[in-house]
């Protein structure tokens, strides 16, 4: 079974859902042959989705429709909570065989989540090298390259001839995650270079690897951020990135498909931060309600207290407001505009810093550009709002709201631009400069600016 077994039209979520119901029906009636036939030719990710859609008691039966090697592949594609359930329900020797056949990174993740009792029960049935490999891979802190790398890569020696290297890769092909990049290591497993299978194929068999290999290849350290590893893979269009330990020894590879998953997870995290949601481990659909509550409540309450300052600002101008109640009409519009302009510039800046499009050293130039753009935005919005001002309160009110609009938009935009840079300089994640945070700061300044201008122009004027 590979990932390329059916035309994708047949694999829509709805079809897979319907298929899952059908399979569950067959299994409940004990018609395993019919169930297996209905699933023929499906790719592992689709199998995994079907098993996730089947009621928990029938899942082992569904998985058992497959040959063991394929079971291992499907197990690796399952959601973590489904994997855990299956692992607890499965016979120990069965689970041990599947884990021996799984991708090294996927089995290490599973191993990490197993209870100590289950680990002890499995240990006798697994080879010592496998247990050590799992322990090593699961030892790296989350969000590091080490935590997403896998150890089933293909290595060759620098003194091999091309023909020997090809033969060696043929032998390693069964177990290695990829053989399209071969890693050249010395006797102490230090990474000397890489060779692509493409180069091996077009080079005469008698060539020597050390002359063909790319020396000093792009690599990262196991303790590097997984996001940086993914970025290197994207930048250099790599199939896999070698991961080194402190001594320059090869300890694993991060594959391009894992890098895509990392990039998606990091983007999701940044989306969440941009709306003051703390990272959640699982998907939205499968998180518990308590998890969702905890991920959201902290900033919401913090911002409640932050917004007290805006309230205090308004309270400070109660006399001005009481004398010109029309001013209240424009309050939501003005403070929202500052927040909106600020959210825009915060998003532009956070994203540009995250993708490497701009750097800390670009701050001054970007600030200048932002001032020009924000002035343009503010003037346009002031024109719009002054018309409404004229209609509701005459020339003086129009002047106050137009002036306030320009200043408020400028301030919002500058805060939105500057905050991510400040956070980044302080060693914090720039993405924390979320829309709501920028909006709250812009709100306070907006209230003070608006009523301040009103007081000067309306009362003293």
């Amino acid at each position: 079974m590979t990932a390329t077994a059916m035309r994708h039209d047949a694999r829509s979520p709805e079809n897979l859902g319907a298929l899952a119901d059908q399979i569950a029906g067959f299994l409940a009636e004990g018609r395993t042959r019919t169930a297996a036939a209905a699933l023929g030719g499906l790719a592992a990710p689709d199998w995994a989705e079907i098993i996730e859609n089947i009621a928990a008691p029938l899942r082992i039966d569904a998985l058992s429709l497959l040959a063991e090697h394929d079971q291992a592949e499907v197990l690796g594609h399952l959601r973590a909570d489904v994997q855990d359930d299956l692992a607890r329900a499965m016979a120990h020797d069965h689970l041990a065989r599947l884990m021996s056949a799984m991708s090294h990174d996927e089995r290490a993740d599973l191993w990490k989540r197993l209870s100590p009792e289950l680990r002890d029960a499995l240990s006798p049935a697994m080879a010592r090298a496998e247990r050590e490999d799992m322990r090593r891979l699961s030892a790296y802190p989350e969000d590091t390259a080490g935590a997403v790398m896998t150890s089933d890569y293909a290595t060759i020696r620098p003194d091999m001839l091309v023909g020997e290297a090809l033969e060696s890769l043929r032998v390693q092909a069964r177990d290695a995650e990829t053989i399209y990049t071969a890693y050249v290591v010395d006797a102490r497993h230090r990474l000397l270079g890489v060779v692509s299978l493409r180069d091996l194929l077009v080079t005469p068999d008698a060539g020597r690897i050390e002359r063909l290999m790319q020396a000093a290849p792009v690599a990262c350290h196991a303790t590097d951020d997984r996001e940086d590893a993914a970025r290197l893979i994207a930048r250099y269009d790599l199939i896999a990135l070698p991961v080194l330990d402190e001594a320059g020894r090869l300890v694993g590879i991060v594959t391009a498909d894992d890098a895509m998953d990392v990039a998606e997870a990091e983007a999701t995290e940044d989306f969440y931060k941009g709306s003051t949601i703390q990272p959640i481990e699982d998907s939205l659909a499968h998180s518990t309600l308590a998890t969702l509550y905890r991920a959201r409540i902290f900033w919401l309450v913090l911002l409640v207290f932050g917004n007290i300052f805006s309230g205090a600002g308004i309270a400070a101008f109660e006399d001005v407001i009481a004398a010109h109640m029309t001013l209240l009409f424009f309050l939501p519009l003005l403070i929202a505009s500052g927040g909106n302009a600020g959210a825009q510039s915060a998003t532009l800046t956070v994203r540009a810093l995250a993708t490497g499009d701009v750097r800390q050293s670009d701050f001054a130039r970007l600030l200048l550009r932002e001032l020009v753009v924000a002035l343009g935005l503010g003037l346009t919005m002031a024109a719009a709002v002054s018309l409404i001002g004229w209609w509701r309160g005459g020339a003086e009110i129009a002047l106050v709201v137009a002036l306030a609009m320009v200043l408020i938009v400028l301030m919002g935009a500058v805060i939105g631009l500057a905050l991510p840079f400040v956070l980044s300089r302080l060693g914090r994640d720039p993405a924390t400069a979320s829309g709501p945070l920028v909006t709250s700061i812009a709100d306070v300044l907006g209230v003070l600016t608006y009523f301040g201008i009103a007081m000067i122009l309306l009362d003293l004027g």
Copy 2:
């Protein structure tokens, strides 16, 4: 030159910037040999970055330090505006040779942007097949799989033996984007199946391709959304995805590294939409100020008018407010809370829809979950705000603000959840349900709810 020539520590942006300055100095003094030596062993993306960092007049000199085949590769990695400048400045026969050697997708993108005059001038120097290939590739609408695919893939015939297929791939290796997946096509170029190079290597030479290949592989159509193509590559861990025309003929492939770029571009677009910024073609650092202004002004002005409703809401309650000016203190805090809770649920929903984590059919279940979570959030925030209410205005005010808080948070959360679903059902992009839009709607409802409750409890009570 390949992508694996230098340890990445040496490739930090700062180092590349310094190197660019050094090279520019050498070139200005005519010391081309020294410049070439300083750049030895650099990967194409790093070369591209250095050339972008060099003043425009020296860029052709810098590029010319390389062999022509490498120039073509570096040209493909350059930013669009730098490519365009170089193309205009270069001798026609030089440019034609480079374009013949470029990746097919990259040269089609460049071709598309060339002026009609330049295209006419280049045509005689390029093969007819190349011109047709460029025209074909550049004909697909933006954001489709056809617009990101490339036509330099490797094909084999179903009646080949494994040994013959390997020999054929060896020959195609020079020009094909990848040979790690070979596409099996019939005489009319319809896609019959795919074979991985890994499978070819471990199968005896006398096996026949049609028996080895995976029939009916995962594929997409040229007119499919590029985002869907990227998602298939991520889901099935593909090296490349075959792209078919209406008749099932193979017209191109989308490679995994292009899929990573697509995923990043789509995430950026969604970030922008989430803050009411319209998509911009270039990077933030290289967009013109007019582009940035245009991308931002539309929604800002629209939201100004949207916020008039909040102002009108306040104006409608002027009597209540005049009688209880303390109420104003809590106004920013309450309406911001509704907007913040709404922005959170909008972000969770938009992202979950974008990654395929939830679907249209999950709406009812998610709404129920959101109501429970939002009730929890609202009660917590009400507890916080009622303390402040008590302190500022006594028990009655505390009751009003607490009650308003619960309702406002609930409404904001429901709008944030529902709006993306509604937009998606209407065939619009759910990401348009941005924080600022949700906030504006929540603001109006917040004003009405708050002062409505106050009127009932304070004046009639």
